[in-house]
Symmetry: C2
Subunit: 207 residues, 2 copies
């Protein structure tokens, strides 16, 4: 219950300036990620971020120059690369990646997702990531409408994640990741060009 980042930032004065700054910046970024994920860009106040990070609002401005700057830094996502290969492998890789996102809340990713519909910068970043994903999937699907198929898979993933974590639709919020992944498996297989009943592990319907 006791850590270095306690309520008073000057509790342990035995730190170099660089350490101090890095630590404070980190605290601000964590607070920002949480609040952006919880309330979205517009409803998240610089003052609120500062308060959660035990810091003055002016300091947030000093470090990140603007609210947009803070969001850009806080919502920066590592590019998720799925291995290309046979369609069945791609389908399984997509399902595994989805499963991982359903195991534990991906806070930074939720910060973007929550703000996507009302903040143009978040939307643009999301579209760019979507294009990358579509291009990756496309190369593994040997059909003419590969782009649309990849786009649909993307839409399904984001729809499920959004309803589970942002909207907390009870059905999806309570389900186990495995249940969801198993039900979605035939969908992904079909969209990837496979028949629904061939290739990859297919579980019997639950219950």
């Amino acid at each position: 219950m006791r850590s270095v980042t306690d309520s008073d930032s000057r509790a342990t004065p035995r730190r170099t300036r660089a350490e101090q700054r890095q630590q404070t910046e980190g605290r601000i970024l964590s607070a920002a990620r949480e609040l952006f994920a919880e309330h979205g860009y517009d409803r998240t106040t610089i003052r609120a971020v500062a308060a959660r990070a035990n810091v003055d609002a002016g300091l947030v401005m000093h470090y990140f120059h603007s609210k947009d700057g803070l969001f850009t830094r806080a919502a920066k996502l590592p590019p998720d690369d799925l291995p290309d290969g046979a369609p069945s492998e791609v389908a399984e890789a997509l399902l595994a990646s989805l499963g991982k996102r359903l195991e534990a809340e991906p806070v930074a990713s939720l910060a973007v997702l929550r703000s996507i519909l009302t903040h143009s910068e978040a939307a643009e970043g999301f579209r760019a990531a979507g294009r990358r994903r579509v291009d990756q999937i496309k190369t593994a699907i040997p059909v003419g409408d590969a782009e649309l198929r990849a786009g649909l898979i993307s839409a399904i993933i984001h729809g499920v994640v959004a309803e589970r974590y942002l909207l907390r639709t009870s059905v999806l919020a309570d389900a186990s990741p495995d249940e969801i992944v198993n039900l979605l498996r035939p969908c992904f297989q079909v969209l990837v060009g496979l028949s629904a009943t061939s290739g990859g592990p297919v579980d019997a319907p639950h219950g």
Copy 2:
């Protein structure tokens, strides 16, 4: 290109008070729906709605009492009832309903959808509608995890609609409704409990 509701609300003074009021209210509601759908709840200003409706902001308050009141009225949706029956029929009905929503922008529905992630009232209305839909679908699916299956279908529909109209992801925004519906058909059939290749019209893959 010419209608009674032109820029000047006093252009045709030959109207009774009730007509006048109803007309102005309608103009305000249309403007509100458009702006809520375009920018979401937070970024839509009462002043902006009033300006688009060629009316003073105070009048909007006078008629709707608050911004929330305006949103509630503007975002009121007619309940979409899909016929219950055999799983295959339900799947087709869901696909048809999706197809309709993909043919023409459903503005009122988009106003809700755009505001869902940041406005709690919109979220609650959405969840309620979702529960109704899930209950409807559930009765037609004879398996144990019917609720989750229905929830997934819901999530897919909203994911697709959101990416097409709100995010305007190029792949989904440019595709024809038929292409989307046909690709999604096997997914819905599987989720509804059918095998992907039996029952209902199944098109050959496009291209």
